[in-house]
């Protein structure tokens, strides 16, 4: 941030169009969301100011709680898959000598596919009519009593809608961790090996601690991403059956756009943003990362 140009007019010419667009496209809707969370409005007629009533109602709404806890389970599954599998595969790649960039390129492919397509792929894999991939594999390994319509069973639907989201982004975290791992000075791990550490110890005691800042950052992004999870659960089940795969975002969406409760929907949206900010603050506090 240490420029040298001082021409004020040119400065404004370069800065203002973008800032104005940003304020209008992102900042104004946020403010308006907060305002709407204090009103009751069904889409037509005048808005009615109701104070904190939407929030009071939210904290008494059992579906809200159900979607909150579903969202926590969704978050745990998604974060565990993205970070652990991403990290595991990145570590494996560091021991590879040939074709690394080809493997990386291919592994990343699910990240660039639209969620609608991923939704359709998994819908067909979970199905029983015709038998989908999951059920065929279960049947083949003798677990045919587990064969079921994964999206219709209230006991399996939540993991079933979480899994595709975890699966599709492992490649992105793999790329991030791989870049961090190979940027570690080779002398550091050589020194550890000279001191008698085996490969396993070098990995856990030296390499992983060294990329901890990257892990914390990606964890932050991964958690806030999961707190706003929407596309795949919405596309696969729309929160059903019942509310057994309802997440915060899908519930917000339904309240606003299916029931026309724009005020109540906004209150849930405000809750989602507050919750995301809280998660980031807590994570920074726990990891002791100073604000840079």
């Amino acid at each position: 941030m240490n420029g040298i140009l001082k021409d004020k007019k040119a400065y404004l010419v370069f800065l203002v169009p973008g800032i104005a667009f940003y304020l209008f496209a992102v900042f104004y809707p946020i403010i308006d969301s907060v305002r709407l969370s204090f009103v009751e409005w069904g889409g037509i007629g005048p808005e009615k100011f109701v104070g904190l009533e939407n929030f009071a109602r939210m904290f008494k709404d059992h579906v809200f709680y159900e979607s909150f806890f579903n969202n926590i389970i969704y978050l745990v599954i998604v974060v565990a898959m993205q970070l652990l599998i991403g990290l595991l595969f990145a570590v494996l790649l560091t021991y590879m000598n040939k074709h690394v960039s080809l493997v990386k390129t291919l592994y990343y492919v699910p990240c660039i596919i639209t969620t609608v397509a991923i939704g359709q792929m998994f819908r067909s894999m979970y199905a029983t009519e015709p038998m989908g991939l999951f059920n065929i594999i279960l049947d083949a390994v003798g677990l045919d009593n587990l064969v079921r319509s994964w999206l219709a069973d209230i006991n399996t639907v939540l993991p079933a809608v979480s899994f595709p989201e975890g699966w599709r982004f492992t490649g992105m975290y793999m790329v991030i961790y791989y870049a961090a791992l190979i940027s570690i000075d080779p002398e550091v791990s050589e020194a550890a090996e000279i001191d008698g550490a085996n490969a396993w110890q070098t990995l856990w005691r030296v390499k992983i601690p060294m990329i901890k800042p990257v892990i914390v950052l990606s964890l932050t992004m991964c958690i806030t991403g999961a707190l706003r999870g929407f596309d795949i659960p919405y596309l696969l089940t729309n929160g059903g059956p019942g509310n057994s795969s309802e997440l915060m975002s899908t519930y917000m969406y339904k309240q606003a756009f299916a029931s026309n409760k724009f005020g109540y929907g906004s209150a849930i949206a405000v809750f989602i943003i507050v919750e995301s900010i809280l998660a980031v603050v807590i994570l920074r506090f726990v990891s002791g990362r100073k604000k840079d």
């Binding site: 809707p29 709407l36 699910p110 038998m131 756009f257």
Partner: protein
């Protein structure tokens, strides 16, 4: 003797290692390969032997979706949204990045922090207000209704990428150009823009994929069939619990994911670098 044994162990290890890597790759890629395979199977074969290699490959599914024609309209809508969004993203963020990193004004630091905060904002918070705004202005179902939020949410990360790059352009260079009589505008167009070519490519490649793939904005602001983007069109061949024509759906998926695939395989270093920056610099 011992050497031979050691060599054998080493070889086994190598094979096991390769198998592990291949297993990971199969888990990641099989669903996608399967879609392409399923799209060239006749409907009867698809339901009878869904996971076998296609026995009688056919392009009938493709012929059918092209004959139905809607997909061309959807593709065209996606192209429009992606194109206009990219132009605006690059115009706004390259100029803002220049103002924030090469001008000396005290407010810059605060503005930059305010902007980068935006990387963390969930898009859901804007859906209801924008929807209400669009319906009042009667501009639901327009290209603009999708371009506005796409550009807004792309600005923070794009500005950050430009600032990161511009900071490596030495101030002495700008000073020398100023002494030679070059205006701040000339410096931007003749020096900064050509040098930032890689940043432009990174942003264009990453956001062309992300915008092309968007579901949530399109699903909220588009209801007319004629304004649908290609991602939404994939749901055309599926009813809630009605009969899904899987053959057509898979062919449509294959068509719709082809453009992002091409961008990705041509520019994958740029795409992954941009996305990784988004996930770790928030």
């Amino acid at each position: 003797m011992e050497n031979k044994q050691y060599a054998a162990i080493k070889k086994i290890r190598k094979v096991v290692f390769a198998l592990v890597i291949i297993t990971f790759l199969i888990i990641q890629l099989y669903p996608i390969v399967w879609v392409f395979m399923a799209s060239i199977k006749p409907t009867t074969e698809l339901s009878a032997r869904p996971f076998a290699l296609p026995e009688a490959p056919t392009f009938e599914n493709y012929r059918n979706i092209f004959a139905k024609g809607d997909i061309f309209l959807y593709l065209w809508n996606s192209v429009k949204v992606t194109f206009f969004s990219l132009i605006l993203i690059m115009a706004f963020s390259s100029t803002m990045g220049y103002a924030l990193s090469k001008f000396r004004f005290r407010i810059n630091k605060k503005l930059y922090s305010f902007l980068t905060l935006g990387i963390m904002i969930p898009v859901q918070i804007t859906l209801i207000p924008l929807f209400i705004f669009y319906s009042k202005m009667d501009i639901l179902n327009t290209t603009f209704s999708l371009v506005l939020p796409q550009v807004g949410f792309a600005i923070p990360l794009s500005v950050m990428l430009f600032v990161n790059f511009y900071q490596f352009v030495p101030n002495e260079l700008i000073e020398a150009a100023t002494i030679d009589g070059c205006s701040p505008y000339g410096i931007f167009f003749k020096i900064m823009m050509p040098m930032a070519q890689n940043t432009f490519i990174t942003i264009a490649s990453m956001y062309s994929i992300l915008i092309w793939n968007d579901f949530i904005f399109a699903n909220t602001f588009i209801s007319k069939s004629s304004a649908k983007t290609v991602a939404m069109g994939l749901k055309d061949y599926v009813g809630a619990f009605g009969n899904v024509d899987w053959g057509l759906t898979f062919a449509a998926i294959a068509v719709s994911i082809l453009p992002p695939m091409i961008v990705y395989f041509l520019l994958n270093k740029h795409v992954t670098a941009g996305m990784a920056a988004g996930a770790t610099k928030g």
